[in-house]
Amino acid sequence: MIAWFGSIGRRTLDVLAAVGRSAFILLRSLFGVPRWSGVRLWITQMHVVGVLSLPIILVSALFIGMVLALQGYMILVDYGADAALGQLVALALLRELGPVVAALLFAGRAGSAITAEIGLMKATEQLSSMEMIGVDPLKRVLSPRLWAGLVSLPLLSIIFAVVAIYGGYIVGVEWLGVFSGSYWGNMQSSVQFGHDVVNGIIKSVVFGLVVTWIAVFQGYDLVPTSEGISRATTRTVVYGSLAVLGLDFVLTALMFGGA
């Protein structure tokens, strides 16, 4: 019994210590003195984290928009409200599906890659040797990845929403025969830029920060063996996805719940 309590206490302490370490890492990496060479590194990471995530984002967005239009149409047409399809598709995508699905895909694609890469750099002593040369790996390795994730995910979410709305258009208007004017017209009268679009972008900035933070921390903090790397990569995807879904509820309640 005492051992059981002891193990709970130890687990709690471990978790608290990890949270503390990760917060330290986050602050040290985010607020470094920016240098010209940092921009170079950031651009490289924007490519790895952002541009290379584009294919999966584009394909998923197209299909999600198409499915959303198909399902929405089948429900709305029963009430003779198929004209509201544009509104349904756009609001669902801008407020929820765009930021959330893009963040989940991002955790799986970019997050795991970041963890594995940093983990491999740790296992091959690249981080230690950087420190020996007198370069702080937090600034040189973690910081550009964090900033790239923070900036890329909102951009990816925007692209996701646009492509998915177009996918909805293909199915709703071109295939199911909803009048094009009411698809766009209904959308325009119900979507408020300041409310729906901006809040969706704020969400994805938060998701971008949290997912990348988890990814770099898991990479930096892992046990430098091949087993350790594979475990940490899995943890990045699991924790990242859970954090996105949990935070999404909190943010939604704050943004849309009160009004």
Binding site: L120, Q126, S129, E131, I133, G134
Partner: protein
């Protein structure tokens, strides 16, 4: 005041996960010489290098490098001290995303504001010293194990350090590469009057170049002296290690109950 010993380790203890890696170790590494730290695997030889370079902090005791207590220095001062140290990591630890040339240029770019033409000259001099000037455009993934270590050595000496630490430079190398590395370490030490610390358990290579050898075992310095002294040692444990005998004071068997007992099942419950 000048110190004849570049590195002074005094009363060092270091624990990891409740296990003592070092217990009250003291040793002095002389300037301008090649000192070797030897011992069986798992005796914390690499850990000692990390303690000297300030990447790990000892539990008790202190380490002075050129009169500076490494673990009392501010971060800035520590990085300044590290600029005077070069370290060759076991795996080479080349940055995998940049070319050989950029790897060697990396410390120069970080610590100096030299114009590109001078950086180029420096890099080519260092690469020539390790015989890999022709490989400068290759990526680290395209190098063989021995070449990787030579490039890493070129990077470690890019800033002309006063102290070079070699972490297991001979592990996993073919005989030719080993020979090349032995010659390089020796040449670098005499040419630039640097102090070298060599961590290894490759006996013949190490004894052939070291001026002074420390033998570590069970967290303590078991023996020290010149290679000749160690070769002539009558201590059983030293003899076993130096001559690579399979059994001796260091037992071949992991601690276990007597074999016969276990076979006959009379040893009680396991």
């Amino acid at each position: 005041m000048t110190h004849s010993d570049l590195i002074e380790v005094s009363n060092l203890s270091f624990y990891r996960g409740g296990r003592a890696i070092f217990r009250d170790v003291s040793l002095r590494i002389p300037r301008g010489k090649i000192s070797a730290i030897m011992g069986p695997s798992g005796t914390g030889k690499t850990t000692l290098l990390k303690l000297i370079s300030g990447q790990l902090v000892p539990d008790t005791g202190q380490i002075n490098v050129d009169g500076h207590n490494v673990h009392r220095l501010s971060r800035r001062a520590l990085f300044a001290l590290r600029r005077r140290m070069g370290m060759l990591f076991q795996s080479g630890a080349l940055f995998s995303d940049i070319s050989v040339y950029e790897n060697v240029a990396f410390p120069l770019r970080v610590h100096t504001d030299l114009p590109e033409s001078m950086i180029r000259d420096q890099v080519l001099v260092k690469l020539e010293a390790v015989g890999l000037r022709g490989a400068r455009e290759l990526m680290p993934a395209e190098l063989s194990g021995g070449m990787t270590r030579r490039v890493a050595l070129a990077r470690a000496i890019a800033l002309d350090p006063e102290l070079i630490m070699y972490d297991e430079p001979f592990v996993g190398q073919d005989p030719v590469s080993k020979g090349v590395l032995v010659k390089l370490i020796k040449d670098l030490n005499s040419a630039f009057d640097t102090t070298s610390v060599l961590v290894s358990h490759d006996i013949s290579e190490t004894l052939s170049i070291a001026d002074h050898v420390f033998l570590l075992s069970d967290g303590r310095v078991m023996a020290e002296g010149s290679p000749a002294e160690l070769n002539a040692s009558t201590d059983q444990r030293v003899r076993q290690f130096i001559h690579g005998e399979p059994d001796g004071p260091v037992p071949f068997h992991y601690p276990a109950p007597p074999f016969a007992e276990e076979l006959l099942g009379t040893g009680g419950q396991r």
